[in-house]
């Protein structure tokens, strides 16, 4: 219902300039070993800011690649925009853009910078940096981890190749989804999966349920007990034992027709 679209209003948004774009290639070649980065927080939650920070401190040390965070846009080759582009930050964001000398590279950083993220359609934001500025590189993540940040800068500088590629799949003639654990009755699988999720969450629970179901052998409880015993002995984890024992009890109830 966005009645007003800032993108179509040239008064408020920066349009890409062909001549400047042509210079960018040359810029990349020139700054490959020494790129100055200026961060523009346009209404982020700080998550991105702290992770960029982590990327330039000892463990990930982006300065190895000549990437240096500077404190004025006038020194910057690369502008990094984080945040969903709030209304209040639009003018400061444009000021930073115009202050940086041409040619420059604009990076949209994090889910909010790339698209507005979880805030994408809110009244207080424009929904990402590319709504008002020409963006050259997107670094997704919420927030991008320091390695993702290092990777992003390396891609921006042409040191690494972009990995992502658009995918468009069209359903094939014979395409069919596979049933999960078809050897196990549906109601049993659902019961075990739910119990495991309640005990250990979706991630551990899924793995635990899969392991359990792979040991279920057509209603033979003592065979299950044996394989379970060996399984638990190998892992030596009291919490895992507690969960597996509970699953076994649920399973026994199920066999009795519960």
């Amino acid at each position: 219902m966005a009645e007003y679209d800032i993108r179509t209003d040239s008064k408020f948004a920066v349009k890409p300039d062909e001549a400047v774009n042509a210079l960018k290639g040359a810029l990349l070649k020139d700054i490959r070993r020494s790129a100055y980065v200026y961060r523009v927080d346009c209404g982020g939650c700080n998550g991105c800011e702290i992770e960029i920070f982590a990327a330039i401190t000892p463990i990930f040390d982006a300065e190895r690649f000549g990437i240096k965070v500077v404190s004025s846009p006038r020194h910057a080759d690369i502008l990094v925009y984080t945040g969903a582009m709030t209304r209040a930050m639009r003018v400061p964001a444009l000021r930073a853009y115009h202050a940086a000398p041409d040619p420059k590279i604009c990076v949209a950083y994090g889910a909010c910078g790339c698209s507005g993220g979880i805030f994408h359609d809110l009244y207080g934001v424009w929904g990402g940096a590319d709504k008002i500025l020409p963006i050259d590189l997107y670094i997704p993540g919420c927030p991008p981890t320091p390695p993702a940040t290092v990777h992003g800068f390396a891609v921006a500088l042409g040191l690494l190749q972009q990995k992502m590629k658009a995918v468009h799949h069209v359903q094939g003639e014979t395409e069919r989804s596979q049933l999960i654990s078809p050897q196990v009755p549906l109601s049993l699988r659902i019961m075990i999966e739910r119990a495991a999720r309640r005990m250990a969450g979706y991630w551990h629970g899924k793995r635990i349920a899969d392991d359990f179901l792979s040991m279920v052998d057509g209603g033979n409880l003592s065979a299950l007990s044996e394989s379970l015993h060996a399984y638990l002995q190998k892992r030596d984890d009291p919490r895992l034992a507690e969960i597996m024992t509970l699953l076994k009890e649920e399973y026994a109830t199920h066999l009795e027709g519960g």
């Binding site: 997107y138 468009h168 799949h169 049933l179």
Partner: protein, 193 residues
């Protein structure tokens, strides 16, 4: 103080990880790039309903019988709700985090699915793959159940090939019973479009 500091610095030595020249290890269960397997997807919309930032979305074209599922990595918050709710394991968060891209386009995944036609009125309703998946689940659920005859089973399956509207017209009590036997698979299918 300075000596202590120097000692500390010497003790630590090289702190920097060699990434990107050597891959960096992430913890097991790390929530990285959502990996989508369209072959396994039944276009049931569970993930698109759960997704907090609307990185996942679905559009249904009832005119042409096409449903398009889309993922935009640029909006994803890596919460793994999609993985948690997916009934077929078609989407899982992997360890990959190297998502940087020059264009928005390269951050998108789209998958087109055909819709099933109602056997009675010919209108498009649920996604064809979802329907087939539910029928397969019912086969699995009813396998070996003495109480159901072959005829019963095929009659029930025939019902599911109708759109919700026709199903209601044809046999409301039967549908209710169906929902009870094979929940949640049928619930997903029943009357959502």
């Amino acid at each position: 103080m300075v000596l202590k500091l120097l000692r500390e610095v010497l003790k630590v030595g090289q702190a920097t990880v060699p990434y990107p020249f050597v891959p960096v290890e992430v913890a097991p269960g790390f929530r990285g790039k959502p990996e989508y397997n369209p072959e396994q997807c039944i276009a049931c919309a569970a993930c698109t309903i759960a997704c907090p930032p609307n990185a996942l979305s679905m559009e249904t074209d009832l005119e042409n019988g096409v449903r398009t599922w889309s993922l935009f990595y640029g909006r994803c918050i890596f919460c793994a709700r999609c993985e948690e709710v997916c009934p077929t394991g078609a989407i899982k968060l992997g360890a990959d985090f190297e998502l940087a891209s020059f264009t928005r386009q390269d951050l998108t995944v789209q998958a087109e699915f055909r819709l099933a036609e109602c056997q009675r009125c010919g209108a498009y309703f649920a996604s064809a793959k979802e329907l087939e998946h539910v029928l397969a689940l019912l086969d699995q659920a009813w396998k070996g159940q003495q109480s159901l005859s072959e005829d019963d089973i095929s009659a029930r399956k025939a019902l599911l090939r109708l759109c919700p509207e026709c199903r209601r017209k044809v046999d409301l009590p039967r549908v209710k019973e169906l929902v009870h036997t094979a929940w949640p698979a049928v619930e997903v299918l029943d009357g959502r479009i």
